[in-house]
């Protein structure tokens, strides 16, 4: 459930490119799925056959259309409150993708900033920032989300903040590692000689070089965030009802896993596909961008 944490700065193992995975062809499969889900998220109002919030208790737990008792009105069946599963999955894509992307952007922005600062200034700044990073990394994300859910009440922003607060530490460590290696290279010294200030060096020289790594990390983590959101919903601290979000939909269906299997199966498949797609894309990006990053 908690997948790929970022790498630490590791001694260089000779990076003989692995020809098979460097294949030139784009990861058609993953880009296709991600594109499809982006499309579904954007066109949700048009694609969704019914209003995801509209309840009709009479139609609760209707099976999917191909099962006996199913109907085309609810192609993928209905949930406990008789809401159409297909519409909720379509609208859910908007929520889950937004949660994934937002969290990861927030985390990578803050993490990269800390990483760049720590790597560039080094010394006490680096030590202080790194201790903060260590502290955050050992703080359990689930507990933080629970505490936030209990104090301020579960909400979309809470979930994003809670996960981002823990995730940034991983970015900080990876980016710092990269910056340390970049610092040894001559072009940073060159820039200093040319009189560039810290801000210019960081933004013009260091940041562009870490963008590749950031992009890899970002894609790998989006899937992971969606998974963590699902676990939070299970504990009652995820994105709150009635908002359709895949994670909470699975959690809602957990008690009727035998009777109404479709309530948690379809959102689960949706999560599986998206996370699979992002992980494969992340792998491909990593292999093309920077094989040494293989450790991610």
């Amino acid at each position: 459930m908690l997948a790929e944490p970022g790498a630490l700065a590791l001694p260089e193992v000779a990076a003989a490119a692995d020809p098979a995975s460097r294949g030139r062809r784009l990861p058609v499969f993953s880009l296709g799925i991600i594109g499809l889900f982006m499309l579904v998220a954007v066109l949700a109002p048009i694609l969704s056959p019914a209003d995801p919030f509209e309840q009709s208790l009479r139609n609760r737990f209707k099976p999917p259309v191909w099962e006996e008792g199913g109907s085309w009105k609810f192609p993928l069946g209905t949930d406990r409150l008789g809401r159409d599963m297909l519409s909720r999955i379509i609208w859910g894509s908007r929520v889950s993708l937004a949660a994934g992307v937002l969290t990861v952007l927030l985390a990578s922005a803050f993490g990269a900033a800390v990483g760049l600062a720590a790597g560039y200034y080094g010394g006490r700044v680096d030590a202080a920032l790194m201790r903060m990073t260590d502290a955050t990394m050992s703080f359990p994300v689930i507990l933080l989300a629970l505490i936030l859910a209990v104090t301020v009440g579960p909400s979309f922003t809470n979930v994003v903040v809670a996960i981002a607060v823990i995730l940034w530490a991983r970015y900080a460590r990876v980016i710092r590692g990269q910056v340390l290696t970049l610092m040894q290279l001559d072009f940073v010294a060159q820039a200093r000689i040319a009189g560039a200030g810290a801000w210019r060096i960081i933004t013009r020289h260091l940041l562009p070089n870490t963008l590749g790594t950031l992009l890899v990390l970002v894609t790998l983590q989006i899937g992971y965030v969606i998974i963590v959101e699902a676990s939070l919903s299970f504990l009652g601290a995820g994105i709150p009802p009635p908002t359709p979000a895949w994670g909470s939909m699975i959690a809602e269906g957990r008690d009727v896993v035998t009777r109404a299997w479709w309530v948690s199966l379809f959102p689960g498949l949706a999560i599986l596909l998206v996370v699979l797609a992002f992980n494969l894309l992340g792998d491909w990006l990593r292999d093309t961008f920077d094989p040494k990053l293989r450790q991610l």
Binding site: M1, L2, V13, V141, I271
Partner: protein, 306 residues
């Protein structure tokens, strides 16, 4: 080497100090525990008595200092809900968490190593494809879903294994597997890629040139080098296992630290929340330290570089 351990210990203590402040504040934001302990009919006077009795009326700074002062010597105060010393609760629950995490780690290592190495050795074959599928599946399924499916079918319907409880070895299997499942995915992928690189190296070629038998080349010459990145991540994964077992503990009714934290939060039990977070942070710090030592042990370049 000792200087290196000393520095790391100091760093961990600083991190723990930061966490103690953060968790002290966060715990108090969860609300007022008395609403749960005092019955509906409690008057303001009852609230005042209880607050004074439990020491919650003292200023925050004083509460923090007494919390940290006693925490250092292992006394985390008394649980507001269970009215028992928190250290006693931790002593009851921590071994269960560690045992489960260790078992899960064992299971995942036992699965990740052979699969990871063979996927690298037999790159591009069916085994490699299967290993990659397992690896991505591992990271795409929410843990609680895997847990519930296992309980419902393996324990409930097939009745192969106990669904919950802590009796013998067999009650470790399902929770351990659920918890370890995503670690298998992560470690296998990592081991495969690092093995691929090591197998391309000159010293592996030289070993073969020397006529060393193939499985010794793979499981000794190559593997020990491929271990380096894996050991680092094993540390991180173990820390994750301990700190996020809540979901597995909930489904498998496993009385671990995660469950204690969950109960602590829902009943606004500050001392318990503080104690659990500090304990898990300490475990993470210790595990990372062991990993670094193991790391130095495996890679002599590190051992003499410090």
């Amino acid at each position: 080497m000792l200087r290196f351990i000393g520095a790391r210990l100091l760093q961990s203590l600083v991190a723990l100090a930061i966490i103690s402040v953060v968790v002290f504040v966060l715990a108090r934001t969860t609300g007022d525990p008395l609403y749960l302990i005092l019955p509906m009919s409690a008057t303001q006077e009852d609230f005042a008595n209880a607050r004074q009795y439990l020491g919650l009326d003292r200023p925050y700074v004083e509460q923090y200092l007494s919390f940290v002062g006693r925490a250092v010597i292992g006394d985390f105060g008394t649980s507001l809900r269970a009215r028992r010393p928190v250290s006693e609760l931790i002593r009851e629950r921590l071994p269960n968490s560690l045992k489960l995490a260790a078992f899960a780690m064992g299971v995942s290592l036992a699965m990740a190593f052979p699969l990871g190495v063979m996927a690298a050795v037999r790159k591009g074959t069916g085994l490699d494809r299967a290993a990659q599928i397992i690896s991505v599946l591992g990271q795409s399924l929410p843990t609680f879903w895997v847990a519930i499916l296992l309980v419902e079918f393996v324990a409930g319907r097939l009745q192969w294994l106990p669904a919950a409880g802590l009796e013998g070895f067999s009650s470790y299997v399902l929770p351990g597997f659920t918890l370890g499942w995503f670690v298998v995915a992560g470690l296998m992928r990592l081991l495969r890629s690092s093995m691929l690189e090591v197998l391309d190296s000159e010293y592996v070629k030289l070993a073969r040139v020397k006529g060393v038998v193939e499985h010794r080349v793979i499981w000794l010459h190559a593997l020990k080098n491929a271990l380096i990145p894996v050991v680092t991540f094993a540390g991180i994964y173990f820390a994750i296992l301990v700190t996020t077992a809540i979901v597995v503990e909930t489904v498998f009714a496993w009385p671990g630290l995660g469950r204690l934290a969950y109960e602590g939060i829902s009943s606004r039990d500050f001392p318990v929340i503080q104690a659990v977070v500090l304990t898990t942070a300490a475990i993470v710090a210790v595990v990372n330290l062991c990993v670094d030592c193991l790391y130095a042990f495996i890679d002599p370049r590190i051992r003499y570089a410090r």
